[in-house]
Amino acid sequence: MKQSGGGIPTPGLVIVDPPRSGENNMAIDEALLRNANSDWPIVLRVYQWERPTLSIGHFQRIEDRETIPNLSDLPWVRRKTGGGAIVHDHELTYSILIPKRDDQPTKGHNELLYRAIHCAVADSLRALGWNARFSEACKNKTPCTMKTINGKNQEPFLCFLRRTPIDLVVGDDKILGSAQRRSAAGLLQHGSFLLRRSQSALELSGLLDASKGSSAEPTNREFDGWIDFLVASLMQGVSQLYPTHWYNGSLDDLFGDVKEKDVTSI
């Protein structure tokens, strides 16, 4: 994949955030896109959720969760990005903000970013011995994405039951899905890296479930190393498109003295 620019690298801020409520997590990402400007760095935020939460895509109907057992009991929040609903339980969530800059061409980069991120995570997983590949190379067609019929979206409610050609699968299971929101100020990409099956979505297997060849019992601590893995992979993916000088920080680097609880109202 070609890099878009040469010369001076773009600054890139890495934020590994503590677990937050669904409302706070989504409000922070909304604030990132709403306040983005050409002076901002690229932002890579990796986070978890205080408790299992359902996030639904921007255009999804919350009533449709009734079609899936166990989802009705979960707190839910609406994302600004598209795509299907995600059970944020034993998974890691990321958001990437690419502010629009005059000196940085972005035409056609929307899908390229999606592909670059998934490609980087796939490469990293393969280096660890996992058989990770794009969905387009996966011969299993069920469950799969259904096309829009007569203007009505017929896709499964849950993101991880849908397939686009560049979703990342291990075995027959999708383990990484992403979605975007574009604006005049920039591009926000969300993604979910599924590590373990959730009791709220038993039909979805995560990367570390026994069916993938790992016999380890699930523990919370096992996710710690995967945060570093995901951050490194995402940095690599972004850098494929935008030569980036990465540094670690927090939301304070963007919102200054604004109290954390007020970030969401900026």
């Binding site: 921007h58 255009f59 598209g82 035409k107 929307n110 007569n150 203007g151 992403s178 929101r181």
Partner: protein, 130 residues
């Protein structure tokens, strides 16, 4: 109505405006073939209501393609006088004909001179080629 892309005025954000009859002060608004191609498969569109006020450069709707949500920006300011509601159920038509069948809203302009700030076909083509 038969609209050709050369007749239109464009936003940098790929929406177009067309005024069939200057005395009416009504602009028809849509998105360009280039935008449709960039967005790829469209699955949802959210449109404004009749009577809603829109402002040049501000969002008047949203469209979801594959898994990306993108805003629709109005090229002109004014009041929405017609909404192509049927388009929501046949978004595929935008791939075939984004200029006639794919029109999105009609706006009674409050300041027709705003049209002069938009790109003509040649300038828009140049932008898309960058």
């Amino acid at each position: 109505m038969s609209i050709t892309p050369e007749q239109l005025r464009y936003c940098e954000s790929h929406e177009w405006a067309y005024v069939a009859d200057e005395s009416s002060g009504i602009a028809t608004i849509g998105i360009s073939a280039f935008a449709v191609a960039e967005l790829t498969d469209l699955v949802f569109m959210a449109l404004p209501k009749m009577g809603q006020t829109v402002t040049a450069g501000s969002e008047f709707g949203e469209v979801e393609s594959v898994k990306a949500v993108s805003p629709l920006y109005s090229p002109v300011s004014g009041t929405v006088v017609e909404v192509h509601s049927a388009l929501v159920d046949k978004l595929d038509s935008l791939n075939v004909d984004p200029y006639d069948e794919g029109w999105i809203i009609k706006v009674k302009m409050s300041d027709p001179l705003e049209l002069n700030r938009l790109l003509n076909w040649d300038a828009y083509q140049k932008q898309c080629s960058h």
